[in-house]
């Protein structure tokens, strides 16, 4: 649940393909634990890996995982390199103009600030965020100086090195980091951003969207989605 819309290039160059294919390719970033990351075995792992596999099973689809850079994740969806984005992408109006979203599979959750000490100035200081995220958009408007990084872990490294006073990101992404690193702590108030996380689907792929919507609903109904959320501690539950 990070991230805002990509550049105009994505919209201008959008491409795609028909649905009828047998294999549904799922695109993810693979660098956003616990949502999606590459494990020691070199495979994509995390909350969205398990969720995606389960959704495909329920929708009776054969799915394959594809890793793609965050910066080009929307252009490559509309360009037809894969059929759905499952990458912790928050549902926002800007993105919704370019692609479609399934219903959200995590509720809208707050973003949090993490810094080395309590006294940092969140309004006027230097705050790090990943490029093209809803958090980056928020900081840009908040009056603080925004420093952007192309990967999530670089934003953390910037705070640790003192380059940025604080980082703004999804609470669920920051929590395991703060837990494991004594140097860092949550600071300031939480910020409510975005409309929950959903799968990104091409606008012309209504049929695929419906299949995933049905599967997501069935996981919401039988409680298995809440179990997965609890297991990976990615957000609050439904």
């Amino acid at each position: 649940m990070k991230k805002i819309v990509l550049t105009a290039i994505s919209a201008a160059l959008a491409g795609g393909m028909a649905l009828a294919a047998d294999t549904v390719r799922l695109g993810t970033e693979g660098a956003y634990a616990p949502w999606n990351f590459v494990n020691d075995a070199g495979e994509i792992d995390g909350f969205e890996r398990e969720l995606g596999d389960e959704l495909c099973k329920r929708a009776e689809l054969t799915c394959e995982w594809v890793k793609n850079d965050w910066d080009s994740i929307i252009p490559n969806l509309v360009g037809g390199n894969y059929d759905a984005i499952v990458a912790g992408m928050s549902i926002t109006d800007e993105r919704d103009e370019v692609i479609d979203f399934t219903t959200n599979y995590t509720p809208p959750d707050p973003s949090s600030y993490v810094a080395k000490s309590d006294g940092v100035d969140l309004e006027g200081g230097v705050v790090a965020a990943q490029t093209g995220t809803i958090q980056a958009g928020y900081i840009a408007e908040s009056g603080a100086t925004l420093v952007e990084f192309s990967t999530p872990e670089e934003t953390i490294a910037a705070v640790k090195s003192g380059e940025a006073d604080a980082v703004l990101a999804d609470s669920s992404f920051l929590a395991p980091i703060v837990e494991a690193d004594a140097e860092l702590q949550f600071v300031g108030p939480n910020v409510a951003l975005g409309g929950g996380v959903g799968m990104g689907i091409r606008e012309s792929d209504g049929e695929l969207k419906e299949k995933f919507n049905t599967a997501i609903q069935s996981m919401k109904d039988d409680g298995s989605l809440n179990e997965l959320i609890a297991k990976w501690e990615v957000s609050s539950q439904f």
Partner: protein, 294 residues
Amino acid sequence: MFSFCTNPETLDSLRWLACYTTTPKHANLYVSVVVVLVLLAITAPTALGFGFAGATAARSRILPLRWLGKAYISIVRGVPDIAFFMFFVIALDQAIEWVRHQVVCPDWDEPIRQGNDFIVCAAAKMPLSQAPQWVHETYGFFLAVLTFAIVFGAFAANVLYGAMNAVPRGQIETAEAYGMTRRQSFWRILVPQMWVYAIPGLSNLWMVLTKATPLLFLLGVEDIVYWARELGAWANPNFTAYPHDDWRMWYFLVLLAFYLGLTRVSEIVLERLMTRLSKGQATTGGEVLRKAAA
């Protein structure tokens, strides 16, 4: 990988490192080294081919061909690489699919462009979406090779164009006096002699190319810089058996050594090539060789 790797927490540092550097995740880094080297090995000659064709076209006597050559050189050189990578590759991919769509699905009645989306029938997808992942990766790899070749070919074309013009006019005049046709004097006199003027410019291009591979990730091809950054980043003990601090500095030091090594090897090869090509040339380099031999 090793039998003692089952419980990494209990290992001493040397064994830990041995286990850590042999995880399947780490193997991605080694694979990417091979991918980058193969890419360079294929791209360099292809780009040189594009460059040669471009330079030859730019100095052709046929006007439209000359326009084509000059347009290629100036347009591609003028567009930023990153824009070219974003635009050209997607456009090329769509062009291929559009052609396949026309051939494979002639009775398709929906429009191909629907808003943002570009829709062709499933049978026209390139590669087919049920194809295994390696097919997609190979396809992406060759799109990358082609794009690199076109971009660097334009620069190479300009270098070769200059080199062709640098060959002393007297050489061509002599060839004409011997009764050689334009074609003969081009292949027998001009081309063999121009390389000595082209090598310094081409070697610059080669060096830039070796360092341009991070652009590959825009196309979904993961290069060494990507993996060095990913693997070097602080590893959270919650999600890996091999937690560590931010080691990007060490990874980038290894990258530095890799690139310096590559540069050194390239320099040695290019220097030898230059010596070889200077032999018998009426250039300062050729004169030095002549004196040394005498």
